[in-house]
Symmetry: C2
Subunit: 78 residues, 2 copies
């Protein structure tokens, strides 16, 4: 069984670096990783907010939210 | 061949959460993950600084530094 992981980003350079490194390093045999571009998919912003995401890039792993460096505030994507 | 990854922390609650989730999610078949407690191993603080680590917890992956949430400033560990 795999654990759900969601990587939220907005296409910014900091986001791309985090995706290319941190998100890609995750063990896909144990985690089901979904990548969500909140700039393109604004309907998921509320869901990200509920998970505690305040800025992107962020990784939600097993219900815990981890902000990775800083690209943009979630409020700026609305 | 595995890529070197170093997870720097200082035993703080934010650090422990990041280690239990993000560091443990890394694919060990592709990455050689070293966990460094900078509070206990102050001799490695200079190395972390050189890698661009400004706060812990932080993950250095393939030469790129990613700060994960915020636990403590590196300068406070000296």
């Amino acid at each position: 069984m795999t654990t759900k992981a969601i990587f939220y980003h907005a296409g910014c350079p900091v986001c791309v670096a985090a995706e290319d490194n941190v998100a890609k390093a995750i063990d896909r045999s144990r985690y089901n990783v979904e990548v969500v571009h909140l700039g393109n998919d604004k309907s998921r912003i509320a869901e990200a907010e509920s998970a505690g995401v305040e800025s992107v890039p962020a990784l939600v792993l097993d219900g815990a939210t981890f902000h990775i460096n800083f690209g943009a505030n979630l409020s700026d994507l609305k």
